[in-house]
C-alpha cells in the first residue's frame, strides 16, 4: 500500500502543506502542550484500539510502531522538549521523555504542536537538507517536523524527481529523499487526524442552519454530523433562489470538503455502516463525513466514535477525564470490531510488541557470546558452558515464540515475507545446531548456534526497517498468488529450511577452515572429523528440504502460472542450491573432494544460498515480483567477498601444508 500511496503522496504533500499553512490550519495554533506524563493505563488502552491499515485490522500500537520506526529508526523516541508548565501555563524546564509508540501517537493526535517539535525524523545524509535549502547539524542527525517544514515543498519536488528514476538506478541520496518525504507525509496524516474535530464550522448567519445547529458557530465535526438527516434534507431542498441559506450551506459544505481533503489518508478507525456496499474497508474521518452527508444509512456508530475523539480532545488537560473518555471510546470501537469478528488478534499483537522477543532474543545471544568467549578463556568452567547453552536456549525459545505469535496473528504459516524468512531460517538453523550438538557434544555446533543467533536476529532487526519501508508492515497482506496457506506452508517453509541447512553447513565449514588455518587443536583429528561429519549431515539436510521445496514450488507454479518450471530467477536460485548440494555430495562420494574440499564447497554453498535468498531479488526480473528487494546489494557483496576470501585462505592453507619436495643430500 505504501508504494501505491506514493504516487498520490505528492498530491497529498501539496494538499497537506496547503492545509497546514491555511487559515484553517492556522486556527489550530493554540498552545497545546501536555502538562502531565501519559498514565500507563491510558497508553495501554490506547494501544489496543483497533485500526485498519495495510489491508488488515491491527492494534493502534502497531500503526504507531511502524510509523515511529520508519521516521526515527527506533521504536522508542527520546523526546526532549520544554513541557513542564508553571501556573500560567508557560513552559519552565526542558525535559527528556522516553516515548513508546502509543504514547508518541497520543501526542501526535492530541498535542500535535508538541509532536511537531520532537526530533523524530532521522536524516541519514545532510546533503538532502542542503539540497532543499535547510541548514544541517551533522552528516546524520534527527530533526523535528517544524525544523523541516520550511523545506517541505522543495523536498516534495526532489522526491518526485527521485521517484521518476527507475528503482534499481536510484542513488542512496535519492532513496533517502523519497523516504524522508514519505515519513513527513505519514506524520502529517497522523497530526491532522483530529483537525475536523477541532475545527469550528460556519453554521451562523443562516436561518436554515441555525434552525438545525442553533446560534453561533459549531465546534467539532460531530456536532455537524449528528444532524446528518436534517442536513441532508436541507441540502436536497434548498435552491439557489434562497440565496442567503444556499450560500451558507455551500460554505459549510466547502468546509466539510476541506476537512475531508486533509484527512483522506488518516487512520481508518470506523467500521463501515451496515448499508455500505464495501463491508470490508474501514472508514476514515473523511469517509464518515462523506457518507453522513450523502448516504441515507444510519451512521450513529461512526458519528458516536467521532464524538468520542472530540470528548477526549476536550479533556486533554485532565488525565483522569481523558482516561474516562478513552475507556468509553475504546469500548465502543472494540465492541463494533468484535461484533464483526475483527478484534480477536489485537491484544496478541500488542503482547507481541510488548514482549519484543526478537530484541530480547538478540540480547540473550549476545550474552551467550560473552559466556562462550569466557568459556574459551576458561574451558574448565561448567558454569560458563551451561550459561552459554541456557542463554542460547532462552534466545531460541523467544525467537520461536515470536514466530508462533506472528503466525497466529496472521492466520498464516510462519514464512510469508522476506522478513519472516530471516526469523524462520535463524530458528531452524538454531534447532539444527542444538540437535547436532546433542549428537556430537564437541561444542562446535553450539558455538555456531550462538553466532547464528546473533547474526540472524541482528539481520532481522536491520531488515525490519526495509520491510516496513517497502510494504508498510512486517505482517503485510499478500498478493493474490500467495493467498494459499497450503503452498505457503509446504513450499516456502521447506525452501527456507533448505536455506537454513545450507547456511549452517557454511558456518560449520568456517570452523573447520579457520581452525586449520590458525592451528586450533589441529592435533585433535577426531575434532575435525566430527566437524566434517556434522557439515556433511547438514548438507544432506539442506539437500532434502531444498529438493522437496523446489519441486513443490514447481507444482505450485504449475497451478498458478501454468508451468512447472519457467527458469525464473527465483526458481533458478533454488535450483542452484539443489545443484550445489548434489555436486558437493557426489564429489564427496566419488572421492574427488575430502574434508577440506567439502568445507570449501560448504562455504561456497553459503554464497549460493545467499544469492538465492537475496541476490536474485535484486535482479528485479521474473514472476516472483513480490520478493523484489533493493538496498541489500552492498551487504550481500561484502558477504560474498569475505566468503571468497575464506575459500582463498583454505586454498592457501592447503598448499602451505603440502609436503615439501625432498632434496637429496649432496653428501
Amino acid at each position: 500500500m505504501w508504494k501505491t500511496n506514493r504516487a498520490m503522496g505528492f498530491l497529498v504533500a501539496f494538499a497537506a502543506f496547503f492545509f497546514l499553512s491555511s487559515p484553517l490550519g492556522a486556527a489550530q495554533a493554540e498552545s497545546r502542550i501536555r502538562s502531565f506524563e501519559w498514565p500507563q493505563e491510558t497508553v495501554e488502552l490506547f494501544a489496543t484500539l483497533p485500526v485498519q491499515h495495510g489491508g488488515r485490522i491491527k492494534p493502534l500500537d502497531s500503526l504507531a510502531g511502524v510509523n515511529l520506526l520508519m521516521m526515527n529508526g527506533k521504536r522508542t523516541l527520546e523526546a526532549g522538549i520544554d513541557w513542564s508548565l508553571d501556573e500560567n501555563g508557560e513552559p519552565v524546564a526542558a525535559r527528556t521523555e522516553s516515548l513508546k509508540p502509543s504514547a508518541w501517537l497520543l501526542d501526535c493526535f492530541f498535542f500535535p504542536e508538541q509532536a511537531r517539535a520532537y526530533r523524530a525524523f532521522r536524516v541519514q545524509d545532510a546533503a538532502i537538507l542542503t539540497s532543499i535549502g535547510l541548514e544541517s547539524r551533522k552528516k546524520r542527525d534527527w530533526y523535528s517536523f517544524d525544523e523541516l517544514l520550511p523545506g517541505l515543498s522543495a523536498l516534495s519536488a526532489e522526491a518526485k524527481k527521485a521517484f521518476d528514476v527507475e528503482t534499481i538506478k536510484r542513488t542512496p541520496k535519492q532513496r533517502q529523499t523519497i523516504k524522508l518525504n514519505q515519513d513527513l507525509l505519514n506524520f502529517e496524516n497522523l497530526i491532522v487526524f483530529l483537525d475536523p474535530m477541532r475545527n469550528e464550522y460556519s453554521t451562523a448567519g443562516s436561518g436554515a442552519l441555525e434552525n438545525i445547529y442553533g446560534p453561533g458557530k459549531t465546534k467539532g465535526i460531530a456536532g455537524i454530523l449528528e444532524h446528518e438527516v436534517e442536513l441532508r434534507q436541507l441540502r436536497a431542498s434548498i435552491s439557489p433562489a434562497d440565496s442567503a441559506d444556499y450560500s451558507a450551506i455551500q460554505a459549510l459544505l466547502k468546509e466539510l470538503e476541506k476537512a475531508m481533503l486533509g484527512t483522506f489518508n488518516s487512520p481508518a478507525f470506523f467500521v463501515p455502516s451496515k448499508g455500505a456496499i464495501d463491508q470490508e474497508t474501514w472508514w476514515k474521518v473523511d469517509d464518515v463525513i462523506r457518507e453522513s452527508v450523502t448516504s441515507l444509512d444510519d451512521h450513529s456508530d461512526q458519528i458516536g466514535a467521532v464524538r468520542g475523539f472530540e470528548r477526549m480532545l476536550a479533556n486533554t488537560n485532565d488525565s483522569t477525564a481523558f482516561q474516562r473518555e478513552l475507556e468509553t471510546l475504546h469500548a465502543s470501537l472494540v465492541g463494533q470490531a468484535a461484533a464483526r469478528g475483527e478484534y480477536k488478534h489485537i491484544e496478541k499483537e500488542v503482547a507481541l510488541y510488548n514482549l519484543d522477543p526478537f530484541t530480547r532474543g538478540l540480547v540473550c545471544f549476545l550474552l551467550a557470546f560473552l559466556t562462550m568467549a569466557g568459556s574459551w578463556l576458561k574451558p574448565s568452567s561448567k558454569g560458563l558452558w551451561y550459561g552459554q547453552i541456557g542463554l542460547s536456549a532462552v534466545g531460541t525459545i523467544l525467537l520461536i515464540v515470536g514466530i508462533v505469535y506472528r503466525s497466529v496473528i496472521r492466520e498464516r504459516p510462519p514464512v510469508v515475507t522476506l522478513y519472516d524468512t530471516i526469523l524462520f531460517i535463524t530458528a531452524v538453523s538454531l534447532l539444527v545446531a542444538f540437535f547436532t550438538e546433542w549428537l556430537t557434544k564437541r561444542r562446535v555446533a553450539m558455538a555456531g548456534a550462538v553466532l547464528v543467533g546473533v547474526g540472524g536476529l541482528f539481520l532481522a532487526g536491520r531488515y525490519e526497517l526495509k520491510e516496513i519501508a517497502s510494504s508498510g508492515d512486517t505482517m503485510a497482506s499478500v498478493v493474490a498468488v500467495l493467498d494459499t496457506n497450503f503452498y505457503l506452508a509446504i513450499h516456502v517453509t521447506t525452501i527456507a529450511m533448505g536455506y537454513a541447512g545450507g547456511l549452517f553447513a557454511a558456518v560449520l565449514a568456517h570452523a573447520w577452515i579457520l581452525g586449520q588455518l590458525f592451528g586450533f587443536k589441529t592435533q585433535d583429528k577426531a575434532l575435525y572429523k566430527t566437524i566434517y561429519t556434522m557439515t556433511y549431515g547438514v548438507v544432506c539436510f539442506c539437500l532434502l528440504f531444498s529438493i522437496f521445496g523446489t519441486i513443490m514450488g514447481g507444482i505450485w507454479a504449475n497451478d498458478s502460472w501454468g508451468r512447472f518450471w519457467g527458469w525464473d530467477p527465483k526458481e533458478n536460485g533454488a535450483l542452484l542450491i539443489c545443484l550445489w548440494s548434489l555436486l558437493t555430495l557426489h564429489m564427496r562420494l566419488g572421492g574427488f573432494i575430502r574434508d577440506r574440499g567439502f568445507a570449501v564447497m560448504s562455504v561456497f554453498g553459503g554464497i549460493v544460498v545467499s544469492a538465492s535468498w537475496w541476490g536474485v531479488n535484486l535482479l528485479n526480473v521474473g514472476l516472483h515480483s513480490y520478493g523484489f528487494t533493493s538496498g541489500v546489494a552492498y551487504t550481500l557483496f561484502v558477504y560474498w567477498v569475505i566468503e571468497l576470501a575464506v575459500i582463498g585462505l583454505a586454498a592457501f592453507d592447503h598448499f602451505r601444508k603440502l609436503p615439501k619436495p625432498t632434496v637429496p643430500d649432496p653428501s
Binding site: A480, G562, W567, L583
Partner: protein
C-alpha cells in the same frame, strides 16, 4: 559403489565424474541464464541456455546447453544410479531418488518436445475453442466466401527464413504457390525513406524496419515478405487486417497471427472478478466464472489463482485481466501438456527416496557405538 560393467561407454556414461561435470555445467548454465534475463528477458534466456542443445556463437556451438546437459545427466542417472548400482537395503533410498529425478527430468523433456503453450483472452460473454501462442507466428490463407478451408503455415516454417532465405509452399487447397521470405523477429512497417534500409524489398512504398528483439518476447511484432502469383506483399504480426490478394478472380486473405491451437471444448467467460485487500489497491484474488462447452453440454466452472481448470491434458490458469472500450476481459494461460502431473508423481518418489536415505543415515549415526558421547567433563578436562 557402482560396479564396472566392462563396457567402456556404459562405464563413462554411468560414472560419478560425468555426473559431477554435468552438475557443474548445469550450475554454470543456470547462473548465466539467470543473469542473462536482466538484459534479454526470460524467453531469450530460455532459448539460449535451457531449451536448446548448444549455445551458439559465430555459427559454431561453443558450450553445451540445457537440453544436452539434462539429457546426459538423465542417462547418467539411469545407467549409474539404476543399472550399475548394486541395489541393497542400504542404497534403496538412493535408487528411488534417482528414479524420481529421472521421472521429473523426463517430464520436462516431454513438455519441451510436445507441449503447446499460449493465452486465451475473453471478454465477458465471449467464447473460443482455441488459444494462441505468445511467441510463435503462423500465416493463414483463406478464401473470401470460401468454405472456410485454407492453408496454415506454422512458425517452424517461418522463423528460419531470415536474411535472404525463402520457402515456397505448395498446397492442394490453394490454386497458387506461396513464397515466404525475410522473416524478422521484431519489426515496424513504415514508409521507405532515405534514412533507413528496409529489410527486403519495398512494397508500395513501404518496407520492413527491423528492430532489436524486445526483452519481453511476447511484445515482438514479427514481419516478413510474401509473394503469391507474382504479387508481393508484407505481412506483419500486429497488422489490423489481413493482406488481400486476388488470383483468377478469387479473393484470398493472408493473415500473419500468433499460432493457434484448437481445444477439444469451448470456453465462454461469464464474469471476471477482481478482489482487493480492504483499503488497498493490492489484488487479493482474481477469478473467472466460465462455461466449459463440449458435445455433452455446458458446465459452469470457476478458474482462479492456484485453482486452474484441468481437462483432457489441457490446463487453463487465471493469468491476468484488462479493460478495453467493450468491457473487461480475462486472460487465461493455456498449456496442452501430457506430462502435466508427472512432476507431482516425481515429487513423492524423490521425497520417499531421500527421506529413506536421510533417516537411515541419521539412525545409523545416532545408534552407532562409535559415536563419541564426550561428556562435558572430558571436554573440559
Amino acid at each position: 559403489m557402482a560396479k564396472k560393467t566392462g563396457n567402456p561407454i556404459v562405464d563413462i556414461l554411468s560414472s560419478l565424474q560425468l555426473a559431477c561435470v554435468m552438475l557443474s555445467l548445469l550450475f554454470i548454465l543456470t547462473l548465466l541464464g539467470t543473469l542473462y534475463q536482466v538484459e534479454h528477458g526470460l524467453y531469450e534466456a530460455k532459448e539460449v541456455f535451457f531449451s536448446s542443445w548448444f549455445i551458439w556463437k559465430f555459427g559454431i556451438p561453443i558450450f553445451p546447453s540445457g537440453l544436452t546437459c539434462m539429457t546426459i545427466l538423465t542417462a547418467n542417472m539411469l545407467t549409474g544410479g539404476l543399472i550399475r548400482l548394486k541395489i541393497s537395503k542400504r542404497n534403496l533410498g538412493v535408487v528411488i531418488t534417482h528414479i524420481g529425478i529421472a521421472l521429473m527430468l523426463g517430464s520436462g523433456m516431454v513438455k519441451v518436445l510436445t507441449a503447446d503453450e499460449g493465452n486465451l483472452a475473453l471478454l465477458e460473454g465471449e467464447r473460443s475453442n482455441f488459444f494462441s501462442s505468445l511467441y510463435k507466428w503462423e500465416v493463414a490463407i483463406t478464401e473470401v466466401g470460401g468454405d472456410g478451408a485454407g492453408l496454415v503455415i506454422q512458425d517452424k516454417y517461418l522463423s528460419d527464413l531470415d536474411g535472404d532465405s525463402a520457402r515456397t509452399v505448395k498446397s492442394d487447397v490453394l490454386p497458387f504457390d506461396v513464397t515466404l521470405s525475410g522473416f524478422v523477429k521484431n519489426s515496424r512497417i513504415q514508409p521507405k525513406g532515405p534514412m533507413w534500409e528496409a529489410s527486403g524489398p519495398v512494397v508500395d512504398g513501404f518496407g520492413i524496419f527491423e528492430m532489436p528483439p524486445m526483452k519481453e518476447s511476447e511484445q515482438n511484432a514479427s514481419g516478413m515478405h510474401v509473394e503469391i502469383a507474382g504479387q508481393q506483399g508484407i505481412l506483419w504480426g500486429f497488422q489490423r487486417a489481413p493482406w488481400t490478394v486476388k488470383v483468377d478472380g478469387r479473393t484470398f486473405l493472408v493473415d500473419m497471427r500468433h499460432e493457434r491451437y484448437e481445444m477439444p471444448f469451448s470456453i465462454e467467460l461469464i464474469k471476471f472478478m477482481k478482489e482487493e485487500h480492504p483499503g488497498m489497491s493490492m489484488a487479493k484474488a482474481y477469478r473467472s466464472d466460465v462455461y466449459k462447452i463440449d458435445e455433452s453440454g455446458q458446465e459452469k466452472i470457476r478458474i482462479q489463482m492456484n485453482e486452474p481448470l484441468r481437462s483432457e491434458n489441457l490446463v487453463l490458469f487465471q493469468s491476468s485481466f484488462g479493460t478495453q472500450a467493450s468491457g473487461t476481459y480475462s486472460v487465461f494461460s493455456v498449456v496442452d501438456n501430457v506430462s502435466d502431473q508427472w512432476p507431482l508423481y516425481s515429487l513423492w518418489v524423490v521425497t520417499a527416496g531421500m527421506l529413506l536415505t536421510f533417516v537411515q543415515r541419521l539412525v545409523k549415526v545416532i545408534i552407532s557405538p562409535s559415536r563419541r558421547r564426550t561428556s562435558v567433563k572430558e571436554m573440559t578436562s
